[in-house]
């Protein structure tokens, strides 16, 4: 492991009780959801992680505790290292504090994760859906959300298929 990454891991272990994993030279640090804002602020201010490259999540359904991992991929331009922070979240009413106060990019990326996984980001300034329509039900990237398809309508069977479309039921 890189010496710079080693100091970061040691700091995280001492301050946030974090654990870590390593795979192909990449370091994943596991932090509790209550510590995430503090951890990102520390990494940005003391370890020059200026860029939040990616913010996403993974769903481990049917496992419920933790069901999700929220992933923060950080890049440091000054030191040229990257590190991944993972926050395990339980499946019942998943909640993570918002990190919009640390990085502005969190605003849109957290909206995307909330939209796709149904994870609530507490204190988010603009908690609307971002990619799916406002009135959409469900969260598409969850593993219990089926990969469905829409039946194509042709002239000869338009009405027959139309009665099965979701908007008829409303």
């Amino acid at each position: 492991m890189d010496t710079k990454l080693e100091t970061i891991v040691k700091t995280a272990q001492a301050k946030f009780g974090a654990t870590y994993e390593e795979f192909r030279g990449e370091v994943h640090i596991f932090v509790g959801s209550e510590k995430i804002v503090e951890a990102l602020t520390l990494l940005r201010d003391n370890h020059q992680f200026e860029l939040l490259s990616a913010l996403t999540a993974v769903d481990y359904w049917p496992q419920n505790s933790p069901r999700f991992h929220v992933i923060y991929q950080l890049s440091s331009l000054a030191n040229n290292v990257t590190v991944q922070i993972r926050v395990p979240v339980d499946g019942d009413q998943p909640k993570v504090p918002t990190t919009t106060s640390v990085y502005d990019v969190s605003n849109w990326r957290e909206r995307e994760v909330a939209d796709m996984f149904g994870i609530e980001f507490e204190g988010h300034p603009d908690p609307r859906r971002i990619l799916m329509p406002e009135d959409w039900k469900g969260h598409p990237l969850r593993k219990d959300y089926p990969l469905g398809y829409e039946e194509p309508q042709f002239t000869f069977n338009f009405d027959e298929i139309d009665v099965r479309k979701p908007y008829v039921k409303e």
Binding site: F23, H28, T56, Q73, V105, W108, R128, M132
Partner: protein, 409 residues
């Protein structure tokens, strides 16, 4: 048929100023069907006369669920989805995805394949910048630049067609190498392009760079400082125009970029004109890389010999039983990848194109996330357009170089 409904300000109340609620400023929809929104982007504008008070992007009109679809396909078959994301940079997307798969399963790429990958992605970068420059000119009412840019882009698309049989959705770069070796005419065609293109770049510059109308429209418009850019996750030419020297090809070289000699153009102004200059300079740098890669294009195989991951060539299938089995297994079941996750990023024409890939031990990706640069670059729109005129908003939007397929995924 759905009924047309009047847009209610309710859901946007926290985004617009108090004056919009009292009716002092006007709320106006721009897009999603508007020529200068580059696809299907909708902007909710709050206007005070002709001055922009707030510009709130509303995206998702082109959302196709690529990430969800990729979870249902094998690693080899999921690759075709990546072309359809950023349709201006198809080989670059393939490269990003293939590098992620190669890193996950620990697969080597032979040097010839690496060099061809570099040449093709750099050609694609030029093609992407050409579309950018053309559309940028068009938005600023410089119609002729658009026509010239598309003329040159056609040469590049012809080269891609020569290699892969497809002009845009090539899927030519595959995990472990490339689909098949380039044809014999490839080198002459690329050299011909390298001969023509420098003069053409000078022509664009003669049309635009010192044009007083362009200067009036661009200089000092849409200023973005480095700190805001980084906090908003802005990368690529837009970040380099704000004075941050950050290019993944230099910072974390991949595919042998460390052996090529090239500069990373940066500007410190951070305005629309700086973004234009950075794009123009990148034409020249990309040409340098292509020329060097072509000059030392090594001979040898173009894909890895590891038959557990790379399908065998057609010629072997008829004579070797093992090859037939490998072919069958790879295209039906696919290859398994370890239960682990990796993040790998490349420099696309728009910025850091990252792929987060997680395997579960099976032949299909458990989770793929594409970190697309346009998404983060667009998120800064509201900050840099405030206080400018609507006509300047069009120029700023054009300079961000958004591709809606890249944003909505």
């Amino acid at each position: 048929m759905a009924q047309l409904e009047e847009v209610d300000v309710g859901p946007y109340r926290h985004l617009v100023s108090e004056r919009a609620i009292s009716g002092e400023t006007m709320l106006l929809n721009m897009g999603p069907q508007h020529p200068s929104t580059h696809g299907v982007l909708r902007l909710l504008l709050e206007l005070d006369g002709e001055t922009v008070v707030n510009a709130i992007p509303d995206i998702g009109y082109l959302h196709t669920g690529v990430e969800k679809n990729m979870e249902a396909k094998t690693y080899l078959k999921a690759e075709v989805m990546t072309d359809r994301l950023d349709y201006m940079n198809t080989t670059g997307n393939n490269l990003a995805y293939c590098m992620a798969v190669e890193k996950l399963v620990d697969l080597d790429v032979p040097p010839r394949a690496q060099a061809i990958r570099v040449i093709l992605t750099e050609l694609q970068r030029i093609a992407s910048h050409l579309v950018w420059l053309g559309a940028f000119g068009l938005d600023l009412a410089a119609m002729s630049v658009f026509l010239y840019c598309f003329r040159e882009r056609e040469i590049i698309l012809d080269i891609l067609e020569m290699c892969s049989g497809q002009r845009m959705m090539t899927t030519y770069i595959r995990p472990g190498g490339i689909w098949r070796d380039v044809p014999v005419e490839f080198e002459a065609a690329v050299r011909n392009f390298l001969k023509i293109f420098p003069k053409r770049v000078d022509e664009y510059e003669a049309l635009m760079t010192k044009n007083p109308i362009m200067m009036d429209r661009l200089v000092g418009i849409g200023k973005l400082d480095a700190a805001t850019a980084l906090s908003h996750g802005v990368t690529g030419p837009m970040l380099r125009a704000s004075g941050v020297n950050w290019d993944l090809r230099k910072a974390r070289p991949y595919m042998g970029y460390e052996q090529y000699n090239f500069n990373v153009p940066t500007r410190t102004e951070g305005d629309t004109f700086a973004r234009y200059i950075v794009h123009i300079e990148e034409f020249r740098e990309s040409m340098k890389i292509i020329e060097q890669a072509l000059n030392k294009l090594p001979m040898g195989p173009v894909h890895s010999d590891n038959r557990k991951f790379v399908p065998p060539p057609r010629s072997e299938i008829g004579v070797s039983m093992e090859s037939l089995i490998h072919h069958f297994k790879l295209w039906t079941e696919g290859f398994p990848a370890p239960k682990a996750s990796i993040y790998s990023a490349v420099e696309s024409p728009r910025g850091e194109l990252g792929v987060f890939l997680e395997g579960d031990g099976g032949p299909k990706p458990y989770r793929v996330h594409m970190r697309t640069p346009s998404f983060d670059n667009l998120s800064v729109t509201n900050k840099i357009t405030q206080g400018h005129l609507v006509a300047d908003l069009v120029a700023i939007l054009a300079s961000i170089d958004i591709v809606l397929g890249d944003i909505d995924r």
